[in-house]
């Protein structure tokens, strides 16, 4: 009796654990498209679980949407595209293991990863195998530590940070306090803030940090309040950002709060509630498509993507879905320009030759010494107003 009972319990546990058990396995998309011939095999490493799950899920959805569209339209050069997805669970070691699996599958390019740390962990194996990588992570290090095999779609901190500091200086905030997380994104941002603050004439009067997962930042903010800054610049992503906005409200701090693309998420607005009103953040133009300029090519591209994504998934795409759209779009564009066999090397060369490709995150032009291809012209400053984003001024 005892034995059967424990067997039943084990079976129940095993059944419950099954959905996660499968999470590491590959699933495929797009083999049943209208196009014929041998498919182009592409790998994608995204964070579907873990801290960055909220970023990785829309990324996967955007890629699936675009793969289906390309294949229904006859594929690329008459050949369909097949994408193998791997979940890195927001873990650098798992991203590296996933990369090895994808290389063994014989992919000609890899999109990924969602996070900066995971992106960097994939590099060595891809370089050794000679396969191009297109990262959707915003850390400057991705393209600042240059590799001829690695490309990037988001605006890196080294473009966004000076943009925000300029805007703060223009508004007359010259003494600022900064708060950043100790993860890859925050540390990268903080280093660039400290290095580039002097150019627009901004002084850092307080510099506090917190650990990802912390749930209360009133201590750090009390320190910042003591230094009496004109404004506060926060470099963080994830739910801690909303806590900071709320903690400021709780401490009756009146200073304006600025941030970067890491907080351009509906969850920030929802989580911060009233405390989020008036927060200013720099991000790409996808949040308010009018900022592309109505009737321009970027406007057409973005609104078509927004429309299709909203129809498929019931919500408007966020900036992370946009990064994934750009990563796949750049790759599809490069594949279309290749004459002859699409070897990984040929894909890399074609990617580097990208000129003026219009995506959601901006207009991309890669060069042998620039694998990011975006500039400050592709970002704008938003203010959170009445629970949504509005262009500042």
């Amino acid at each position: 009796m005892r034995l059967t009972r424990s067997l039943v319990a084990l079976a129940v546990l095993a059944a419950l654990a099954l959905p996660t058990g499968c999470a590491g396995a590959s699933d495929t998309d797009g083999t049943d498209g209208a196009a014929g011939g041998e498919p182009y095999l592409i790998g994608a490493v995204v964070s579907l679980t873990g801290t960055y799950a909220g970023l990785g899920v829309p990324e996967k959805q955007a890629i699936e949407l675009e793969v289906a569209r390309v294949n229904e339209g006859g594929g690329i050069n008459g050949r369909p595209v097949e994408v193998l997805f791997e979940d890195d669970a927001t873990d650098a070691a798992k991203a590296q293991a996933a990369t090895v699996r994808l290389i063994e599958e014989g992919v000609i390019a890899v999109i990924g990863a969602t996070g900066t740390g995971q992106t960097m962990a994939m590099r060595t194996d891809l370089e050794r195998a000679g396969i191009p990588q297109i990262s959707m992570a915003g850390g400057s290090v991705v393209t600042a530590e240059f590799s001829e095999w690695v490309f990037q779609t988001p605006w890196p901190n080294r473009v966004v940070v000076p943009f925000v500091l300029d805007r703060m200086a223009e508004a007359g905030y010259t003494e600022i306090g900064i708060i950043s997380d100790t993860g890859g994104y925050g540390v990268d941002g903080r280093d660039i803030i400290l290095a580039s603050a002097a150019t627009p004439g901004v002084t850092i009067v307080a510099d506090e940090a917190f650990n990802p997962g912390d749930t209360d930042m009133t201590g750090q903010l009390t320190g910042i309040r003591g230094a009496n800054p004109d404004a506060i610049l926060m470099w963080a992503a994830g739910k801690e950002a909303a806590i900071i906005a709320k903690n400021m409200r709780q401490l009756n701090m009146e200073q304006p709060l600025f941030g970067g693309p890491g907080i351009a998420r509906a969850e920030f607005i929802e989580g911060a509630g009233d405390a989020g009103e008036g927060v200013k953040l720099a991000a790409g133009k996808i949040l308010v498509p009018d900022s592309y300029g109505e009737g321009t090519e970027p406007y057409t591209v973005a609104s078509s993507f927004i429309e299709r994504y909203t129809e498929a998934y019931g919500t408007a795409p966020d900036i992370f879905a946009g990064h994934a759209y750009d990563a796949f779009g750049l790759l599809a564009d490069a594949l279309g320009r290749i004459e002859g066999e699409a070897t990984p090397e040929a894909v890399r060369d074609a990617l580097e030759a990208t000129t003026g490709w219009v995506g959601v995150g901006g207009t991309f032009s890669y060069a042998p010494d620039d694998h990011n291809g975006l500039s400050a012209d592709d970002i704008v400053l938003y203010v959170i107003d009445d629970g949504t984003w509005r262009l500042d001024q």
């Binding site: 997962g213 749930t215 209360d216 994830g238 009756n252 969850e267």
Partner: protein, 292 residues
């Protein structure tokens, strides 16, 4: 540093500390009746927040949604003991502890699939601006956190000291076999302590959600802090668990004030190690003398 500023750090510390204390109480309860550290305790914290959000989004009023979230988590705690632990109860503490680790992974993955990957939030229990106390700001939700912690520790102390059931729990913590010989239904005591521990964790998860938001992956962090608080205070004693929690929160907050915000977790863990080195039974725990 002005006195108002210092007071602000102390308030921040006591706020985090009260949350650690509630989670630590859950560890203490289960340890008291089974001798096992329940590593799924943090997931009860997560479930309390996520289930309350789930009920709140079904348009239930906040008090009802919160109560339903806590009650459901308590039931999950009872079911967890019944399904996963009881069949192996004669296997010794190590096996049971490993089962709780596995259970925490299952609960976490299920929550990820049921509630999705994004963070969620609840409105504050009583809305309004922060209160001013000698120049330091206290938000209203913090008063709720403190109030709930106080009620929980008073109720538990009363349960332990004044009720027949509380005495059964104490008997179980000394020896299951002896308790059974005295006619105590030990299986029921263990089951109820799991339910209570889950409810306490859920209460903490519910109370902080308006302050910090919640998501499917907050359990591990809360469990770690609560475990550290329980060890710091001394396992098996509700008052010690609360003292350990408040002390841990204060340590972290004052580390930010006087040392560095980057190393606050490291500093509090070093203190924890020092305490364990000099007082393995915890600051307020009583050393157990084994008679041979």
């Amino acid at each position: 540093m002005g006195s108002a500023e210092l007071l602000q750090y102390v308030i921040a510390g006591l706020k985090s500390g009260a949350i650690y204390a509630l989670v630590a109480l859950g560890f203490t309860l289960v340890y008291g009746s089974t001798g096992v550290i329940n590593f799924a305790q943090g997931e009860f914290f997560m479930l309390g927040g996520m289930l309350s959000v789930f009920f709140y989004q079904m348009d239930l009023p906040l008090p009802v949604a919160g109560a339903a979230g806590v009650a459901c988590t308590a039931l999950i705690g009872v079911a967890f003991e019944r399904i996963a632990l009881r069949p192996r109860r004669d296997s010794g503490p190590l096996v049971l502890i490993i089962i709780t680790i596995g259970g925490s992974m299952v609960l976490k993955s299920l929550a990820r699939h049921a509630f999705g990957p994004n963070e969620a939030t609840l409105p504050e229990f009583t809305a309004g601006p922060s209160l001013d106390f000698a120049g330091a700001a206290i938000e209203r939700q913090t008063l709720w956190v403190w109030g709930l912690t106080l009620v929980a520790v008073l109720a538990l102390t009363w349960l332990y000291r004044k009720t027949r059931f509380g005495r059964s729990m104490q008997a179980c913590s000394l020896s299951h076999d002896a308790a059974r010989l005295m006619g105590i239904d030990t299986a029921r005591v263990v089951m109820v302590s799991f339910g209570l521990a889950a409810a306490l964790g859920a209460l903490a998860g519910l109370a902080v959600t308006p302050l910090t938001q919640t998501s499917w992956d907050v359990g591990a962090g809360a469990g770690l802090k609560g475990f550290a608080a329980a060890i710091l205070g001394g396992l098996g004693n509700p008052v010690a668990a609360v003292a350990g929690g408040l002390l841990l929160g204060l340590l972290e907050s004052l580390s930010i004030a006087f040392v560095s915000s980057t190393y606050k977790d490291a500093i509090s863990l070093v203190v924890l190690l020092l305490v364990l080195f000099f007082r393995p039974q915890g600051l307020f725990g009583r050393a157990r003398k084994e008679k041979v």
